[in-house]
Amino acid sequence: MLLDFNSEKPIYIQLAEAIEDDILKGIFEEETQIISTTEISVNFKINPATAGKGINLLVDEGILYKKRGVGMFVSTGAKQKILTKRKESFYREFIMSLLEEASKLNISKEEIITMIERSSKNEQN
């Protein structure tokens, strides 16, 4: 888990994304406990309210849940939820801007597909 204190992205959002990354990578598995808000705030020297805000984002989305008196756990289906969410934002952030730029440069959809196929062939070689 890494936070970038120079990034314009607020720390609590970075924290939520970092936890999601760790869930995707399998560092935090479903139905297992993640590190506590206190551990997070002490380790990164961030205000506990900031850490709590990041955790709460994930609780609101059903990715984490709280077991009273025990701590925070990864929900069943969390990985799938994150993947779905990330695919949506992949579409918005990458595909849409790709198409925008392509239309500026008069690149057709067919040409884009050819380019993608060419790059995946290059990867295989």
């Binding site: 705030s41 020297k45 961030i46 205000n47 309210a49």
Partner: protein
């Protein structure tokens, strides 16, 4: 609850106004940064809050009760002063005992534990402590006080990087274990920025800002890239802290972060970053 209300506080030294009509509410259980340049009135404000000084006018209350000459209210506030007012001939462990007289919930075991962790010899006399260890000793007394409100005036004076890191971590752990109001008055803004929930900025005796760090940081952003392109971007905008290195330039734009022009930045090949609290502070108090 431990809400501090500062109402219309003015403090004059002769003809100079050290504090000029300060109105401020300090909500319970938050970590505050009290920021201001030298002579801005930070320590005066802290001294007034802890009854070490009397104001010319105004009132300070803790949960509705005045703090002036009120031992009950004052017993809930621990003030780690920058100046050392402890009897120099006493040993650290004797001061711990003495502190427990005034603050009955002082945790001696925790104080000894922290002393061991920071390498502070509790058998040493106060006058034998170096600047760094004098700060460590006072910070430990403050953290172990278990008071509802803990005020730190320049807590990391003379501390090396390692001890500063330990101090911030312990402060957060202490707060997490038992939430309380913490007020940190410091010059080293950048390293404490993420620890704070809110900042109180005073300048020349006047309160100029009281808001969350997050909120304050949305009022500006940094932009960098090729100097002429940066100049093109910032044309007509209010900027501070320009730094140039060869053809590279970086500036802080004083504009709502939501108004930044992504399209133009992309076109000009510029990069955005977060404005540093320190730089914002300098621009707010530089007049």
């Amino acid at each position: 609850m431990s809400k501090i209300e500062i109402k219309g506080i003015t403090k004059e030294y002769g003809t100079t106004k050290a504090l000029d009509n300060i109105n401020l509410t300090i909500e319970p259980n938050k970590i505050y940064g009290l920021l201001g340049r030298n002579g801005a009135g930070k320590t005066t404000l802290l001294n007034l809050m802890t009854n070490k000084l009397f104001p010319n006018s105004g009132e300070i209350t803790l949960d509705g009760q005045t703090v002036f000459e009120n031992d009950k209210a004052l017993g809930r506030i621990f003030y780690m002063m920058e100046k050392n007012l402890y009897p120099l001939g006493l040993k650290v462990k004797e001061i711990f005992q003495w502190t427990k007289e005034y603050y009955p919930s002082f945790d001696t075991k925790y104080a000894n534990e922290l002393s061991a962790r920071f390498g502070l010899d509790v058998n040493k006399k106060i006058k034998a402590l170096s600047t760094g260890y004098s700060s460590i000793f006072k910070a430990i007394a403050a953290l172990a006080s278990n008071a509802d409100i803990i005020i730190f005036d320049e807590p990391i004076l003379g501390l090396d990087a390692n001890h500063r890191d330990m101090f911030y971590k312990e402060l957060i752990a202490n707060y997490s274990e038992k939430p309380k109001t913490m007020i940190i008055s410091t010059h080293l803004i950048e390293e404490v920025a993420e620890v704070l929930e809110e900042v109180i900025i005073i300048d020349k005796g006047k309160l100029i800002r009281k808001e969350s760090v997050e909120q304050l940081l949305t009022t500006a952003y940094a932009v960098s890239g090729e100097a002429s392109k940066v100049d093109e971007y910032i044309n007509g905008k209010k900027v501070i802290g320009a730094e140039t290195m060869g053809k590279f330039k970086s500036v802080v734009v004083l504009e709502d972060i939501h108004k930044k022009n992504d399209m133009l930045a992309k076109e000009l090949n510029l990069e955005f970053a977060k404005a540093e609290l320190q730089k914002l502070f300098i621009s707010l108090t530089n007049s």
